[in-house]
Symmetry: C2
């Protein structure tokens, strides 16, 4: 059994120049749920336990799994600079603890480190894995740009939003599953099922994230509650509210969006509007729909303990509080 | 005959989201000497003309050559943000024309685009090329970090400086040569000769760049003359001056380093100290030494028209004015 946290800890960042590598070690040591590498390894386990009984296939998936985690943390470093986010997983972000330039350059190096790990993929699998990894990385940058564009757009539909989070979040989970499974020997049909599972889990995860920003438990959420409301972030909740509101509620909501001071009052008022419009329930329904789509993919895969764990994971996602 | 400018123009950046891809097109359309892809293609030509007469080998080198150019321009985008540089090749830098976040995110995408191009390398050559490319990219980030560290260090030796520019500039040229040659079928001895040619050409090029910042022709240099002097950049000239100065000149130099206003006066005064100490001649000698080391590598390669062009290129480098 691979311990992904141990694998991440075993990466060596005690290298010169320290100014480049220390922030990478700091970022990767800050925990998080390690969702992406865990999914990659689980995808490999589903395939191997269900078929070849080839333990090496799991070992061979480890570098790609680590590449996905390092890549994910690279995006966080640069996103935090762009969003001016000060706290990440309860600790100062890299650009706050060091400075912007450090976050840019160490972030660049993390992206390169991800490709260094990827280069350890068995040579016969490398071309396909590199291609998928590049597509995924492109999707994430495109999604981030769409997210930025949305800030300045007066109207964003829920369809636009779902496309954006698909690129920004879900393609990473989808490719984690597909790459993990492919290295372990998945058939094309299995690769596609793994991809779709990751995609829909990702969509459900992001919508849940939006919900938790408003309705989460401040003790476990790791970020301040209502952050999205304060900065008028076009989340699934805000977009749903604007789409579903009667004229009066919409006017009230738009007035609060213009308010840039009185943050506590704003969070309370907007939450109250969300409650009135049943936004939480609407978004939970979207989340549940995607969870169901993810679960349906599992029927196309070998049935074993890991498939069962993926089932439980999807079900728990809907109930998570942080 | 491959026209590298046409190849670069044929890359398509007319894609959505425009906010992500337009700055990439802008950066790549800004010209420059295309040194890196040209070197990669020339390395391939040296090997092929001297041996297999295999035209496909040159074609196969094109994606890697383009990857090197796109990668190089990625580093410029992020370096310009970190250095707050406003002009690049006579035009506003991306972070000035757009903003910092755009330069960060479009820069990230350029790095990914470089890897997308690299993924087109023939599958049997891909693992080695990816490994070298990753080493090169790592060297460049390490070199950039050393450059940043040097700003805050009271003493930087010329050895430290040469190590820094080796990483920041030369490993890219060295790997351009090695990768180009390798894809075209170079033997290990030839690969090493190509690498060393690029390495020493790069060192000579960077020292020449430092010289031109002070002694270049403002009409063709593309940047303001004396920029390095104004910001106290620890160039080969300043380090040589500090290492070689008598007590009086050193005190004078250090006093000017502390002056942060009166830039024109500072440039004139520091240049005068450089002239007095013969700094230009010392640095030109270093440049010529590395040019000679580069030229010596060519004897280990097949002798043909392209080898001759590499010889001329090295000789002209020493005489360039911009």
């Amino acid at each position: 059994m691979i311990d992904i946290n141990k694998e991440i800890e075993s990466l060596n960042w005690d290298k010169e120049p320290k100014g480049l590598y220390e922030p990478i070690g700091y970022a990767l040591a800050s925990g998080g749920k390690r969702v992406r590498p865990t999914l990659a390894l689980m995808a490999a386990e589903v395939i191997v336990n269900g078929g070849l009984l080839n333990g090496d296939a799991i070992e061979q998936t480890v570098p790609a799994a680590l590449a996905l985690e390092v890549f994910h943390n690279f995006t966080l470093l640069h996103d935090d600079v762009m969003d001016r986010a000060e706290i990440r997983r309860g600790r100062p972000t890299v650009h706050v603890k060091w400075n912007d330039n450090t976050a840019i350059l160490s972030g660049d190096q993390m992206l390169i480190e991800a490709y260094k790990l990827l280069a350890e993929v068995p040579a016969d699998k490398l071309p396909q894995v590199l291609k998928w990894f590049n597509e995924m990385a492109t999707g994430i940058c495109e999604g981030q740009q769409m997210d930025v564009d949305f800030e300045h757009m007066s109207q964003v539909t829920l369809d636009d939003y779902m496309k954006m989070i698909e690129l920004k979040t879900s393609v990473l989970l989808a490719n984690a599953m597909r790459i993990g499974g492919y290295i372990a020997g998945a058939t094309p049909v299995q690769q596609e099922a793994l991809y779709q599972y990751g995609l829909h889990i990702g969509l459900a995860f992001q919508v849940q994230d939006d919900i938790l920003d408003v309705y989460g438990d401040p003790k476990t959420f790791g970020k301040a509650i209502g952050g999205d409301i304060c900065c008028n972030k076009k989340t699934a909740l805000l977009i749903t509210a604007l789409e579903n509101a009667d004229a009066e509620s919409k006017a009230e909501l738009l007035q609060w969006i213009m308010a840039t001071d009185r943050n506590e009052e704003k969070i309370a008022a907007v939450t109250e509007i969300y409650n009135r419009l049943g936004v939480r329930q609407t978004c939970e329904a979207i989340m549940e729909e995607h969870t169901a789509l993810a679960l349906a993919q599992l029927d196309k895969l070998p049935q074993n303990d890991t498939t069962e764990r993926l089932r439980v994971m999807a079900e728990q996602l809907v109930m998570r509080k942080s």
